[in-house]
């Protein structure tokens, strides 16, 4: 089947999509957007987290056909998304820069999903408590960092965004 999706503001069309394919597969293998990761394909790790019409979801659990006509934001579009939100011209979204600066990236396979989830959290709640951050990120597994630096990074991004306002 054919699927039309707007990803990161740009319209895409994919042909010959097998009906059992997930949005994740279409993004990674058909649209050349492999930033969303394929760690579990069962909704347990969050590494494929994307925004679907604004809502964070696991792209592996969205059937390709369900994404027809929808708007998707992936990690590849996160910086743009943040620029549009803030009106500022930073090369990276605040959470992206904070993940680098805080040492929250090791192997980095969980990072794209965590960034999409953390960015959405800060959009909703610019000054979250530690418990709020932990709850918002509880669907994103990381095997390298033990999460401490990830927590640091979200705190850092929140603080920087707060200062910038």
């Amino acid at each position: 089947m054919r699927v039309n999706i707007t990803v990161n503001g740009r319209p895409y069309e994919a042909d010959d999509v097998w009906e059992g394919e997930s949005l994740l597969y279409v993004l990674r293998e058909r649209l050349g957007l492999p930033g969303s990761k394929n760690a579990c394909e069962q909704g347990e790790c969050g590494s494929c987290t994307v925004r679907l019409d604004g809502v964070p979801v696991c792209a592996c659990l969205v059937a390709a056909g369900q994404a027809e006509g929808r708007e998707v934001v992936t990690v590849e579009g996160l910086a743009d998304h943040a620029r549009q939100r803030s009106g500022q011209a930073a090369p990276l979204a605040p959470v992206q820069q904070a993940f680098i600066d805080a040492g929250a990236v090791q192997c980095g396979f969980c990072t794209p999903g965590l960034l999409v989830a953390a960015d959405e959290l800060l959009e909703r709640n610019p000054d979250p408590s530690d418990a709020d951050v932990r709850e918002a990120l509880s669907g994103n597994l990381c095997r390298c960092t033990g999460y401490e630096k990830i927590l640091d990074a979200v705190r850092l991004a929140a603080a920087r965004t707060g200062e910038a306002v």
């Binding site: 909704g43 969050g46 809502v55 979801v57 659990l61 059937a63 056909g65 369900q66 709850e135 509880s138």
Partner: protein, 296 residues
């Protein structure tokens, strides 16, 4: 495999009538896992996410008609007052990403004994609105589950909504998992006080082939509350009453040993959760929650 995308409810029913083997898909949180892992290759996938009315809920005096496609996140945010037990249960499901997609309709359709919504529905009192081109019927949720991952729907039927009794007293939900988040229930327990009818209802998850109510426990406690005049007095419950209630709840389990936990542990944990959640709900009732409702 064919992908059917009905734009409205009538179209969805027609598609299901034409293709009774079609697998409905909403949040995809069960169906897509089965497809990704090659456990299932349905002939047709019936996408219900374009049927707008499924994602709506409406409340009347006594019930909430919850569209089958309302995601858990919205239940947590919008229905905490009307459906506190279900909102608590929804909050224990999966992760934020899963709660953004998963639906009560999907949970019922999967009919897993471990479905987190089920105990809360059993305790609150609910009916499943099943529809087909032949018409609509309501199935009490107790009768909906017919076996492990089996339910009472006919092949041409879809779940339109769930009619859930609006809370008239405190409700609680508690679930044991071996992780502090994002975990399938080892077992779960829900309790709802219904001051208006002076009854107590329960729901047990993952401790029997289907979700079940602990009816003996409900009857025992209902009787004890009535006899002791507790509904009116709001007096503290006698510990022996709470203990007996918990024992009867544990006794209602028919658990198995599996990779997630032992049968003995499940029975034990249901007893502990029953005792604690009854304690919390009764304490809330004594503090006034729902004590005005009975006068209405």
């Amino acid at each position: 495999m064919d992908f059917l995308r009905p734009a409205g409810w009538e179209e969805a029913l027609a598609a299901k009538a034409e293709h009774p083997t079609a697998v409905p898909i909403a949040g995809g949180t069960d169906v897509m896992v089965e497809i990704n892992f090659d456990h299932r290759r349905p002939e047709y996938l019936l996408d219900l996410t374009r049927v707008a009315e499924l994602a709506e809920w409406e409340a009347t005096d006594r019930t909430v008609r919850l569209g089958a496609g309302v995601p858990y996140t919205r239940i947590i945010e919008e229905l905490r007052t009307e459906l506190p037990g279900l909102a608590l249960a929804a909050h224990t499901i999966g992760s934020p990403q899963i709660r953004n997609r998963g639906t009560v309709g999907g949970n019922l359709g999967a009919a897993s004994p471990a479905g987190d919504a089920h105990p809360a529905l059993l305790a609150a009192g609910a009916e499943v609105e099943a529809a087909s081109v032949r018409g609509t019927r309501r199935i009490p949720v107790e009768e909906f589950f017919t076996g492990v991952k089996r339910h009472a729907l006919e092949p041409d039927e879809l779940i339109r909504a769930v009619h859930i009794r609006r809370a008239d007293g405190p409700q609680q939900f508690s679930k044991v998992g071996t992780r502090n988040a994002m975990v399938i229930a080892v077992c779960a327990f829900a309790v709802a006080l219904h001051p208006r009818t002076r009854t107590v209802r329960t729901g047990i998850g993952s401790a029997a082939p289907t979700p079940v109510r602990a009816r003996a426990a409900e009857e025992f406690l209902g009787g004890a509350l009535e006899e002791g005049g507790f509904w009116d007095s709001g007096a503290p419950l006698d510990p022996s009453v709470v203990r007996r209630f918990a024992e009867l709840c544990a006794g209602a389990c028919r658990p198995i040993d599996d990779v997630r936990g032992t049968a003995a542990y499940r029975r034990h944990a249901v007893g502990v959760m029953a005792r604690r959640t009854l304690g919390w709900t009764w304490e809330a009732y004594r503090e006034g929650e729902g004590r005005t409702a009975q006068c209405a």
